[in-house]
């Protein structure tokens, strides 16, 4: 496992006071909170900050951590010293067992003695939550996704440890971004014979090459030729359920929206698919093409800047 430099994570000196550590933590937490920051990796960064603070805000843990000395560097291969833990008795920190489950192996090897589960007064096992990213196509046809989850489980010695497990989940047709799939009994095991918690999977779509998703509606940018826009035409357009033919009304402009009712995400009611027309110009890359453009310039009395008064 890799050594974690908690002081470095919070950007404080090893001699920092408790107040300095708290200030540094709060500043970083505001910046990287996954609900506030949209930076990729904010969630990971926030957990690292939380883990560092969990150790450094606690006198006992900080003292124990400091005992490892200053010779270690972030990311260095680390094994806890054999006498580790002797003479220290850790009381519960601020983090719950669920949060601590997200902490690094380094953290759990040093302070892994969490036993909150045993004290829990809830009548059920805890509910667990996970995000799941699925292809948009699954919402149209349904599908099965395999996910790997890490969750804390109490081992034979009564200590929580991280267990990985794989789960195949049926994705029902018609699911939308932001919905949850609730798997009864797949959360944390119940304590002393009570019922286990549930697992909630929050649905997200992978970004799609063609379609933007908004609720149950989709939108697609549909390129069309100038003559199709000007004269009207029948054009082919892809939809998640296959190719359709659409009528382009004469006199269409870029940005015009055509609505294909019921071609969005299935359901009651089904969503719509919006085609956003985008007029694309043919390149003047041959003598013939240039000739046609010249003819248009000559023969069409067209001033695109008329509205600007020039």
């Amino acid at each position: 496992m890799e050594y974690k430099d908690y002081y470095n994570t919070l950007g404080v000196e090893r001699t920092a006071t408790a107040d300095e550590i708290k200030t540094a933590y709060r500043k970083l937490a505001r910046k990287h909170h996954p609900d506030v920051s949209k930076e990729p990796g904010a969630e990971v960064r926030f957990k690292e900050i939380g883990e560092a603070y969990e150790v450094l805000q606690d006198m006992e843990k900080r003292a124990a951590y400091d005992q490892l000395g200053t010779r270690w560097r972030e990311g260095q291969e680390f094994t806890p010293p054999p006498e580790w833990g002797a003479g220290f008795e850790f009381t519960q920190g601020g983090a719950s067992a669920t949060e601590a489950a997200d902490f690094s192996d380094f953290f759990s090897s040093l302070f892994g003695n969490f036993s909150r589960h045993a004290e829990s007064t809830h009548a059920h096992g805890e509910d667990h939550h996970a995000k799941i990213f699925i292809p948009l196509e699954d919402a149209f046809r349904g599908g099965t996704q395999t996910l790997t989850l890490r969750a804390p489980q109490v081992n034979a010695q009564g200590r929580p440890e991280l267990r990985e497990r794989s789960l195949n989940v049926q994705i029902p047709k018609g699911v939308r971004e932001g919905q949850h799939i609730r798997l009864a009994g797949q959360g944390a095991p119940g304590i002393k014979g009570t019922s286990p918690g549930d697992l909630y999977l929050e649905i997200h779509f992978h970004p799609h090459r063609l379609y933007h998703v908004q609720g149950r509606d989709l939108s697609l940018s549909l390129p069309i030729a100038p003559w199709e826009a000007a004269l009207g035409a029948t054009a082919k357009a892809p939809t998640p359920n296959g190719v359709v033919e659409v009528k382009i009304p004469p006199g269409s402009r870029s940005g015009r929206k055509l609505r294909l009712k019921g071609r969005g995400i299935p359901g009651e009611p089904a969503g719509d698919l919006y085609l956003i027309l985008e007029v694309v110009l043919p390149q003047a890359d041959s003598a013939r093409a240039q000739e046609i453009y010249h003819t248009m310039a000559k023969e069409l009395a067209f001033n695109p800047r008329q509205a600007l008064g020039v």
């Binding site: 609900d35 195949n168 699911v175 949850h180």
Partner: protein, 114 residues
């Protein structure tokens, strides 16, 4: 232990109110009283006239868990968390508009400072 080839079928929590107050509280690792406060302050708007018949949707679950995190991580009181939630929702809507208009959201927000 389930064999990995088993396929689990869950229930969808969507726009239809399906979660009771107890289920929502449990899913947030909180007490029912806290949910009642969220409703009183207008962060959550359940269907149903009485507490016992309240029904919540997916968006309530997402929102309540977010409030719980903001409260825990920033020591925010409920009013402050409610303001944060509103602002965050507005930012998300603006981002969605930008993405749809084909703009690079990160560039538009100038958030490439890490």
């Amino acid at each position: 232990m389930e064999r990995p080839q088993d396929i689990f079928t869950g229930t969808v929590v969507g726009d239809e109110g399906v979660l009771s107050i107890d289920e929502l509280a449990r899913a947030c690792g909180a007490e029912s009283q806290w949910i009642i406060e969220l409703v009183a302050i207008g962060i959550l708007e359940p269907e149903g006239p009485e507490t016992s018949s309240w029904r919540f949707h997916a968006s309530d679950l997402t929102c309540a868990r977010r409030v719980a995190r903001l409260q825990r991580d920033f020591d925010a009181n409920l009013d402050a968390a409610a303001v944060m939630i509103n602002l965050l929702e507005q930012i998300e809507q603006l981002r969605a508009h930008l993405t749809q208009a084909g703009l690079d959201v990160d560039e538009a927000f100038g958030s490439k400072d890490t």
